[in-house]
Each structure stands twice: as structure tokens, then as C-alpha cells.
């Protein structure tokens, strides 16, 4: 398994190259990109923050769970951190397997669990506000 956090642009081929294998007829990929709007408001940029040590542990656990459920060959996860602009890629997850069903279902599981459990936060700057997505303390 390949898990990486970087502050430079993500190169998709690094993840795809890692998971591709002659034994695998299927490769699936999730690419999380910065959208230009949120609820109709223009987005300017997103700041990503990662708790790196816990990220590696939690993502490893999620990938182990996926391996226990499906026969998958390899998984690559690349998380970007720092300031990202509209159109930039913040996350890549690639999965390879012998057949498509395992690659599709396991990727869906991994991204859903990732969203709930990977210690990643995003501060969204729009034309009207700046706030951490999902939660702002109510003091």
C-alpha cells in the first residue's frame, strides 16, 4: 500500500503506476478536486490541513478493512496539503484488482470511510467568507 502526503501538485500517474499490474484487469480512481462554487457562492481557494501521523495510521486501517472485504491487489492514496486553488487535486485514491467489481466496491468503501475518519480539514475561502468546512466552534 502506498500512502503519501505532499505539498506539491499531485501527479496522477504516480498513483496509477503504483497500482497497475499484469494480474489486474481493473483499476479504479477517485480524484478529489477543488470546485469553483459551494452552494452557489464562488470559491477562491481551499487550505488543507492534515494530522500526518494519525492520517497514516487511520488510512492504513481503512485500507486493511478494504483488503479484508475484497480481493484487491494494490491501493495508492496521495493527499495534498497546504493552499489549493480551484481545479487543483486534493486527493487521489487508486485501487487495482483482478476484476472490476472488487475495484469499484472497495474504492467506494475507502473514500466513504476516508471522509469520516481521515484527519483532514479544509478552510474554504469564498468571495464572501472564510471558514473551516463541517465545523466552526460555537463559543
Amino acid at each position: 500500500m502506498f500512502i503519501k502526503i505532499i505539498s506539491e501538485p499531485i501527479h496522477v500517474n504516480e498513483a496509477l503506476g503504483y497500482v497497475r499490474d499484469p494480474s489486474c484487469g481493473a483499476v479504479t480512481m477517485f480524484e478529489g478536486n477543488i470546485r469553483n462554487e459551494n452552494n452557489g457562492i464562488e470559491v477562491q481557494n481551499l487550505e488543507y490541513e492534515v494530522y500526518e501521523t494519525l492520517f497514516h495510521k487511520e488510512v492504513n486501517t481503512i485500507l486493511d478493512e478494504a483488503r479484508a472485504k475484497w480481493k484487491i491487489h494494490k491501493v495508492a492514496v496521495i493527499q495534498r496539503t497546504g493552499l489549493l486553488q480551484v481545479g487543483d487535486t486534493g486527493l487521489i485514491i487508486c485501487v487495482s484488482s483482478g476484476h472490476r467489481r472488487e475495484a469499484l466496491d472497495s474504492l467506494s468503501y475507502i473514500i466513504e470511510e476516508f471522509k469520516k475518519r481521515a484527519p483532514v480539514w479544509k478552510k474554504e475561502r469564498t468571495t464572501v467568507s472564510e471558514q473551516w468546512i463541517n465545523w466552526t466552534p460555537q463559543i
Binding site: 494530522y51 480539514w121 473551516w132 466552534p137 463559543i139
Partner: protein, 74 residues
């Protein structure tokens, strides 16, 4: 005892720093430290020495405690 506390995302903005060293009483819990430092503990998860723990986890001298706000990855 002394505890190193890490703040992330909205909590970092709230604390005005990413980490700090805080005094704690013996038997202090992860959530108890959040209430002392932030004034609340609801909505938070806790990690001690980079492992997720329950809110009533009892801290030891020299521990690193991270306050983890709701995540927003993907």
C-alpha cells in the same frame, strides 16, 4: 504534570497556535483538558501519542494530546 497539546484547523485558529505545553492535575482526562483549555469538549475526538482514545482517557506526564475537530477530508 505537563501535557503537550496539539490544535488543528478551527481549534488552531481559536487557540492562536498549533501547540502548547499545559499543566494538568494527575488523573486529568482528555476531555477534561479540552474543557480547561477550550471551554468545551463536545464534537471533539482525542488522540494521545498519535492514537485515538476515549474522552475519559486518563493522561500521564509527558503525553501528547491532540484535540481533533470533526473531519472534512475527501
Amino acid at each position: 504534570m505537563k501535557i503537550r497539546v496539539l490544535f488543528f484547523a478551527a481549534l488552531k485558529d481559536l487557540a492562536g497556535k498549533s501547540e502548547g505545553i499545559y499543566e494538568a492535575n494527575s488523573e486529568e482526562t482528555a476531555a477534561g483538558m479540552a474543557i480547561k483549555i477550550l471551554g468545551f469538549s463536545s464534537s471533539l475526538l482525542f488522540a494521545v501519542n498519535d492514537e485515538l482514545v476515549a474522552s475519559d482517557f486518563k493522561l500521564s506526564d509527558g503525553d501528547q494530546l491532540a484535540f481533533i475537530p470533526p473531519m472534512a477530508g475527501g
